[in-house]
């Protein structure tokens, strides 16, 4: 009869024990934290796993990386829910800064976007002169195109390219949106053998681990550059923003140490770098 109560109290005691005994140092009162809102590509490529420990050690901040699309990252910044942003959606970034939500926008690095598709290339876009031409051919042939559809930097770029091609793909049968991150969308496109726009870093990283069966069909145009900026959230709008930490992170990202790491990241694993460091350069020098 009492065995049940004994067992029950044993179970509760066990729960309490695991719960309390295992609480790590810094569960409640941790050191100065910094919320970094960034894109899925910087996390999925593994770059932040290398850079953040360096920054944390050097500056003594604990960085909480929230990896979302660039659009959502900027929304977090607008609401003062992030301290610093690392994003790649230049047009909306300019608006973000112009509206006073962000300060000190600095160029960090770039890589490029690729139009990928199945090897059979049903829309015959291989070697197309421009992204616009390729997208027109895809629309005309009605071959499946997978869009991120999540307001990320990649999605913003893709929308700009469709606009430049003079096509509104929304609602077309061949145009599907995943609403997912870059890695997931690449996997979906690989399974469905569709075309898509992807950043080179995530493509190389993922293709290495899983044979996607997607090939680079169009690349190399200045329009296809994928440019990352670091922006500090304006503390004048939101007093709770950790502005000192944001500044430290921003300075770190353009420091020689971080830039060297960015330039070397991925060379060993993928044979070519995933990102090109650009600190201090003018955007014009990239051919914009």
């Amino acid at each position: 009869m009492n065995r049940f109560s004994r067992m029950l109290s044993l179970f509760v005691a066990l729960l309490v024990l695991t719960a309390t005994a295992l609480i790590p140092a810094g569960w409640a009162a941790e050191q100065k934290t910094l919320i970094l809102a960034t894109t899925t590509s910087t996390q999925d490529s593994g770059l932040l796993d290398v850079l953040l420990p360096m920054f944390e050690k050097q500056a003594g901040y604990f960085v909480k990386t929230i990896s979302v699309g660039s659009g959502q990252a900027m929304k977090m910044g607008e609401r003062g829910e992030a301290d610093v942003l690392l994003v790649h959606s230049p047009e909306s970034e300019k608006a973000f800064v112009a509206q006073g939500f962000g300060i000190n926008r600095k160029l960090v690095m770039h890589n490029d976007f690729l139009i990928l598709g199945p090897a059979q290339d049903p829309a015959k876009i291989r070697g197309a002169k421009s992204a616009a031409e390729a997208l027109k051919a895809i629309a005309k042939s009605g071959a499946l195109f997978m869009s991120r559809g999540d307001n990320s930097g990649t999605h913003a770029k893709e929308k700009g390219l469709w606009k430049a091609a003079g096509i509104n793909p929304e609602g077309q049968k061949w145009f599907q949106q995943t609403g997912l991150g870059m890695g997931e969308t690449l996997s979906v496109a690989a399974e469905k053998q569709g075309y898509l726009l992807a950043d080179r870093g995530t493509y190389l990283a993922l293709n290495k681990k899983k044979r996607l069966g997607l090939e680079i069909l169009v690349a190399g145009e200045p329009k296809l550059l994928n440019i990352y900026h670091v922006i500090e959230v304006n503390p004048a709008k939101w007093p709770k923003v950790n502005s000192a930490g944001a500044k430290a992170f921003s300075d770190f990202m353009v420091s020689k140490k971080a830039q060297d790491v960015i330039g070397g990241f991925g060379t060993k694993q993928f044979g070519s770098p995933l990102f090109f460091p650009d600190a201090g350069k003018k955007p014009e020098s990239l051919g914009l």
Partner: protein
């Protein structure tokens, strides 16, 4: 098939080598979901017993609400808890968003209706005369409630398992209120989502297997307690 096999091998490698990152993630999952289950038990069983043993106007609506809550989608909970905890939101002064505590809060909200709903059902299923009989034997009110809880232990244990199973396996709320911060709020489910996105399928499979293993061990333990005394 190769992929699954590789994942299984990787899981054993990670477990045997006691990979500190994976171990940390696994322990955090256990801790966060264990705490949330504990809180939900305290709230769920006490309020559930109260609802079951009393009658009041609107009881049917309340019980329906609790039962609806048993299917509360974790993302919905995640969304509302994060809006509440935003640092410029109503409870922002607590500075809880993107902490393990935030995940405990969200998971408690998810598990409580499950435990409560099962408690109400279990208590109402007891023979109506049992109460009278226990009272007639001279039990105090506390003794009565304790006796009734003990009588209903089999379904109540099912409630514990359902509650724990519900929270250890949810990903929507954990990723929204926890943020999947490495070494801090990364739990087994959010890590699995991230590693899948990164194409590290072997690690993702390994994490899933660890999650399944946990669920099994804990449910085995609870079932053991539950089945120790066979129902008459």
């Amino acid at each position: 098939m190769d992929l699954i096999l590789e994942g299984v091998i990787k899981a054993f490698q990670l477990l045997i080598s006691l990979d500190s990152e994976v171990l940390g993630i696994a322990l955090l999952s256990l801790k966060v979901s264990g705490l949330a289950t504990l809180f939900s038990l305290v709230i769920g069983i006490s309020v559930g017993t109260l609802i079951a043993l009393t009658s009041f106007p609107g009881k049917r609506i309340l019980v329906s609400l609790v039962n609806t809550g048993m299917g509360l989608p974790p993302v919905v909970v995640g969304l509302f808890v994060s809006i509440l905890l935003w640092r410029n939101g109503p409870m922002g002064f607590l500075e809880l968003l993107y902490t393990p505590t935030a995940i405990v809060i969200a998971q408690t909200v998810i598990a409580t209706p499950i435990v409560m709903g099962i408690t109400v059902g279990a208590m109402q299923n007891l023979p109506a005369n049992l109460r009278l009989q226990i009272l007639a034997l001279g039990a105090t009110r506390t003794q009565l409630i304790w006796m009734l809880i003990k009588e209903a232990r089999l379904p109540l244990m099912a409630g514990v398992m359902a509650g724990f199973g519900g929270v250890i396996s949810e990903v929507g709320a954990s990723i929204m209120v926890g943020g999947n911060v490495r070494g801090y709020t990364r739990v087994l489910t959010t890590a699995t989502v991230m590693e899948t996105g990164r194409g590290n399928f072997d690690i993702a499979i390994a994490l899933s297997l660890i999650l399944l293993l946990f669920c099994f061990v804990i449910n085995y333990f609870l079932t053991y307690i539950q089945q120790r005394e066979r129902p008459r």
